[in-house]
Symmetry: C2
Subunit: 192 residues, 2 copies
Amino acid sequence: MLDAAMQCFWRRGYEATSVRDLIDKTRITGASLYNAFGDKRALFIKSLDRYVEHSVADRIRRCEALPPREAIEAFFSDVLKRSLEDPERKGCMLVNTALDAAPPDEAFRENVAAVLMRIEMFFLGRIESGQADATIASLLPAEDMARHLLSVLMGLRVLARVRPEPALLKGIVASALGMLDCARKEKALPAI
Amino acid sequence: MLDAAMQCFWRRGYEATSVRDLIDKTRITGASLYNAFGDKRALFIKSLDRYVEHSVADRIRRCEALPPREAIEAFFSDVLKRSLEDPERKGCMLVNTALDAAPPDEAFRENVAAVLMRIEMFFLGRIESGQADATIASLLPAEDMARHLLSVLMGLRVLARVRPEPALLKGIVASALGMLDCARKEKALPAI
DNA sequence: TGAGTTTTAGTCCATTTGTTCTAGAATGCA
DNA sequence: TGCATTCTAGAACAAATGGACTAAAACTCA
């Protein structure tokens, strides 16, 4: 039933989902909804937690066990698959929440930020291992590579919602993975 | 006055902005709002158009005149500057709209998609020129590079709203620009 | 069986939503 | 000056919102 609530929030966002929608879809009664969760807000947070656990955290767990290079490839091709078979174009609930959250609502933001850091740390860990055993190029610092992959991942999920063209999304993943054996030519990074 | 409406929608998104907010902030009366625009929806579209024109299109125009390499560097460092001096964390209205729009609303989506394509075409044009005069590495096809930069750009704007840490954002831009003289080592792009 | 707790369906409430209307003030142009 | 148009402020509208309440039904476990 929490799963149904998650689907509602995922599909339409926090503000656009009414308590009556939730009551309809979860097949739970209004009284017990407020009794069990106290609040629409609290229900949302629980739903987001569930999404993260079943989607992001689960993916990280599955990939973390793989060799460095394969881990990152598996991660991205998993996200790519999910994005391509998403006829409703719901995208990623985490990314949606990142931009949907009302600005004053710090709790939502911190929640999302923490998960993004977790993803970054996954990238970082695998890249460091890969650089250690030379399956991943070392000319770019692992921290920079991890951040770069994180931003490509976010971009992928934005584009998947607006321009769900398979060639576009596949191309982005391919060039992101290509970065793993990318050697800088001569120049240093330009100072910004 | 359309500027004030834009600010409202930018700050809080389409759904969360009420007509009364708009009336307050634009200092225009309700009657003439409906008389001039017909609709909250129509006002939003006009506001988004204005944002695109003053923000995205203007930036492209300014950068398009520069030499290829500088054009892309200027584009990103402009976005970076905007993201760093954004105390309200409003982010980019275009990207916000991309994820905020109610799924059934195709008009919004197509609108956003078209602008994203415009940005991609700007990247593509400059990269092709840069590869022609060898100021940009040629080992990756210009199309792939352009798409990659687009996704990094989207990711940057998502991260700027959730984790506005200067080091993070600067690092992302730096490694994106670093890609412009990136040479692949041995492997081909892995097939997905 | 029986008392005690949940769950159910549905109503009710105050507020807010997008939108329209009314009446009066300001403004245009001849 | 006079008439027509546009503007203004604000009330009024039906619908929808988040949330609380009620009374009947369903369970639980002695």
